[in-house]
Symmetry: C2
C-alpha cells in the first residue's frame, strides 16, 4: 500500500488532534483512501511538556529543518500558528517541494495571496480546511459543493469563544466580564482573549471565506471589525423584547460589483436557525443563487474538530498526489488567473436596520427631538419601546429602524448625542435578517 509521509510542525492542541485522528482512525482512513498516512516527524520547540497524545521519541525533533529538509516527507502540516516563523516555514516547505496543510487563519488572512502564488509557482498545494470554522467542512463546501452557484452572501458565527460569551450573557444575564471569566475557567477562552472577543479572529476567517465565495483575492485589511467587549447585557435584554438575539456575526456580501465584509455584534431574529447556534458552536449561513439558503454547523475550534479538518485535507491531498494533480481544485475556488481585487463597500455605505438605545432625560419633547433628527437623516422608525424605569438618571428609549444608510446613522447619532437632554452616547447595534430559514 502506498505511504504518504507527513511532517508535523507544532505539537500543540491541534497537533495532538491530528496525531490522535491519524492513529485512532488509521483503519477507516486506509479503507477510504487506499493509502497510508504516516506521521514521519513532529517538530516542536517544547518536547518536555506532557501531551494528551504521545508521539514516539524517535519522531520528535526541536529543529524545523528536520521536517522541512527531510526528502522523504511529502506533506508538511503547519500548526504553529501566528505570522512568523510559520510563514517562513511554509515558504521553505514549498521551495523544498513539499505540499502544505495549515490551520493558520491569521497567516492566510495576511499573506495568503503571496503563499498561494508561491505554491502555484512551485507546482505545490496549500490546503486549509481547518483555518475556517474548524471541523465544519466549510472550505470544501464553498469551493466544491456549491461550485454551481453564484454565492452572494455569507453570515458566519465564526468564533466559538465570542459565541459562548454572548450565549452566557443572553441566557444567564452575565456581564461581558463575568462571561469571559467563566469561559476562561472552562478553557474556552484563552488567557489573552483579545483576538477572539475583538472580532479579529472572525475577521481573519471572513476574509478567507469571502475570497473563496466571490472569486476575490484575500483582502483582510478591508474588513470592518467590531468586537463584543463593549456589549451591555441591557441591550441583549432589550433586543430580545424586539424578538432578536445578539450574535457576533461575520457578514460578507457581493452585490453590484462591490464586496462588503464586516464583523460586529448583530441582532438576528430569535426564531432564525442561526439564533439556535449556542455555546462554542460555529455556523455559516450561505446564500447561493441556485441552492438558496444553506447552513453548516459544528465546532469551530478544539483539538479534535480541528484535527478532523486537517486530516480531511491530508486525505484529499494524498488522493490528488496519487493522481498527479496537486492543484486539482484551486485553493481559492476560482482559477488563480480569474481572481479579482473586488472593490470594497465601505462601512459608511452599508444599508441595514438598526437598534438604538438613547439615554435621555425624562422631559417633554425629547422623543420628538430625537425622531426629528432621525427623520432629517432619512432614518425611519419601525418600533419604539420607552421603559419607565430610569437607568443612571436617564430613561432608555429603545428603537428599531427600517433600513438606513450607515453614514446617515452616524451623522444622526452624532447630532443626537450632542443634545443636552441626552446624557450618554447612544448605543446602537445593526440588525440583520439572514434569508429566512422559515417556511418557503
Amino acid at each position: 500500500m502506498r505511504i504518504v509521509k507527513i511532517g508535523l510542525m507544532g505539537w500543540g492542541t491541534v497537533g495532538c488532534g491530528v496525531v490522535r485522528a491519524l492513529r485512532e482512525n488509521a483503519g477507516v482512513i486506509r479503507d477510504r483512501l487506499g493509502a497510508e498516512l504516516e506521521l514521519a516527524k513532529v517538530a516542536d520547540l517544547d518536547l518536555e511538556t506532557e501531551r494528551p497524545e504521545p508521539v514516539a521519541r524517535e519522531l520528535l525533533t526541536r529543529r524545523a529543518e528536520d521536517v522541512l529538509e527531510d526528502p522523504d516527507i511529502d506533506i508538511v502540516v503547519e500548526l504553529i500558528g501566528g505570522l512568523e516563523p510559520a510563514g517562513s516555514f511554509i515558504l521553505k516547505a514549498l521551495e523544498n517541494g513539499k505540499h502544505v496543510v495549515t490551520a493558520n487563519k491569521a497567516l492566510l488572512a495576511h499573506r495568503g495571496n503571496e503563499l498561494f502564488r508561491k505554491a502555484l509557482d512551485q507546482g505545490r498545494s496549500i490546503r486549509f480546511e481547518a483555518a475556517v470554522a474548524g471541523g465544519i467542512p466549510l472550505i470544501k463546501s464553498l469551493r466544491e459543493g456549491l461550485a454551481g452557484n453564484r454565492i452572494d452572501t455569507l453570515f458566519g458565527i465564526l468564533n466559538g469563544t465570542a459565541n459562548y460569551i454572548l450565549t452566557r450573557m443572553t441566557e444567564a444575564g452575565l456581564s461581558f466580564g463575568e462571561a469571559l471569566e467563566e469561559a476562561q475557567r472552562k478553557g474556552i477562552a484563552e488567557a489573552d482573549p483579545s483576538l477572539d472577543v475583538e472580532g479579529v479572529d472572525a475577521a481573519h476567517k471572513l476574509a478567507i471565506a469571502s475570497a473563496l465565495s466571490f472569486g476575490s483575492v484575500i483582502q483582510f485589511d478591508k474588513v470592518h471589525v467590531e468586537g463584543i467587549s463593549g456589549v451591555d447585557p441591557l441591550d441583549i435584554r432589550l433586543g430580545r423584547e424586539f424578538g432578536y438575539d445578539l450574535k457576533l456575526l461575520a457578514i460578507a456580501r457581493h452585490a453590484d460589483g462591490r464586496m462588503e465584509m464586516r464583523v460586529h455584534p448583530t441582532l438576528i431574529p430569535a426564531g432564525h436557525v442561526l439564533a439556535s447556534v449556542k455555546g462554542a458552536y460555529n455556523a455559516v449561513y450561505i446564500h447561493g443563487n441556485e441552492v438558496g439558503d444553506v447552513m453548516l454547523y459544528g465546532l469551530g475550534a478544539g483539538m479534535s474538530p480541528t484535527g478532523s479538518a486537517v486530516v480531511a485535507d491530508l486525505v484529499d491531498l494524498a488522493r490528488d498526489l496519487a493522481d498527479g494533480s496537486p492543484d486539482h481544485v484551486p485553493p481559492l475556488a476560482f482559477r488563480p488567473d480569474r481572481l479579482r481585487e473586488i472593490p470594497i463597500k465601505p462601512i459608511a455605505d452599508v444599508v441595514t436596520c438598526y437598534y438604538f438605545r438613547f439615554a435621555a432625560l425624562d422631559r417633554p419633547g425629547v422623543l420628538s427631538k430625537i425622531a426629528g433628527i432621525l427623520g432629517e437623516h432619512h432614518i425611519s422608525i419601525a418600533a419604539v419601546i420607552q421603559k419607565g424605569r430610569e437607568v443612571e438618571g436617564a430613561v432608555p428609549i429603545v428603537m428599531q429602524t427600517h433600513e438606513a444608510l450607515e453614514s446617515n446613522v452616524r451623522k444622526a447619532l452624532g447630532e443626537i448625542d450632542r443634545l443636552d437632554v441626552v446624557v450618554s452616547p447612544t448605543r446602537y447595534l445593526r440588525i440583520e435578517v439572514p434569508h429566512s430559514g422559515s417556511l418557503p
Copy 2:
C-alpha cells in the same frame, strides 16, 4: 478552453434547474473549473409542455439513444427518476463509456450496489450529490469533508414535504389531512404524496447516506420505515408539554458491529438545533469521533437546489476527467473492496426513550395497572401527565420513559391494550436526543 459535453435525460423540474444553472452561472463555473460545461443534448418524451427553462430546439430529442449513443457526450445526467427505464439507461450509458450524474435516490437505494459495480468494471463514474438532501453538500461532506472520522450517527430530516406538514401541524395545529392539502396547494407535496409522507423517500436517502457513512453496501430493504400519516396533532401538542418537537427523523447508527437504520416520527428536544429546521428545509446532524457534532441544513428538493447539486457533481467530474481519474473518490466513500455488508440491528433491539399516550377509563387503579405492566417489562417512567379532560370517553395518560428496549415496549403495550379499562390502542412515539447542540 476544454469543453465537457453533457447529455440530459429528463427535462422536468430538476432538469430545468440544471439547464438554468449551466446557463445562468456559466461564467463562474468556467472561472472555477477552467473548462466549459456544454449542454449538448436533452432527451424527454414530452417536448411540447412549456418549461420554465427553454432549450434550443436542435438539442431536443425524444429518443434516449440520441443521448446514450452520441459519441461526443462525456457525461449523461439522468433525471428521469424511478427504477425503469432510468436503470437501464444508466447501465447503457456506462457500457457506452459515459460517466453518469443522477439525482435518482430510489434507483440507487434499490440498485446502487449493482450500478456502482458496473461503473467500476467500465472504468466510469456515477455521481449522486443531488440524490440525498438536494442542494446540501451532504454526500461530499460525508465522503470527503469528514474523511478523518469514524462516523457513528446520522440524524436526518430528509424529506421536505413531511417536514413542512409536521411544521404546520405543530405551529398551526392543523390535522395531517389539512396540512397535506395545504402542502399540495402550495406545490410542496405531490398529487400522490405517499413516498414522502410514508417515509419511503427518506428511507431511500438514509440507505445511501448510511452506506457512505459507515462503509457498508446499500441495504435499503433493511430500513425500518414508519410515516407520518397516522400522526395525531394531539400527540404533537402533548409532546410539546414535555419539551419536545415532532420530526420525521431518519436515524442511522453504527455501534458494536451492527447498523441501525430507521425512519419514523420522532420527538426531539425543542431547543435542539434540529428542532429549528422548519418548513420544507432538510438537515442532517452527524456525529464523528473527531469532529463531534456537525449539522448541514438547506433545501432538499426543488428545481434550483437540486440543480445546484447536479452541477457540483458535473464540475467535480469534469475536473477528475481532466486529471484522468474518474474514480478519484470512491462512490460510497470507502474503496469498493472495503465495503461490507454490516449486520443490521432489528427494530426490536433498538433502545431509546418513549412517549406513550394511553386512552384509559377514569377509574381507580388504572395508572397503577399500567405502571405495573411497564415495570414488569423493565420500562421505567420518567414523567407522567394526566389531563383531567376526557377525549372520546377516556382520559389521556401521557408518559415519558427512560431508555427501554423496543421489543419490551411492544410486549408491554400489547398487554396494556388488552386491559378492559383501556379503550383504544396506545399511541407511542420514540424520543431521541441527538448529541447536544448546547453549551459544550
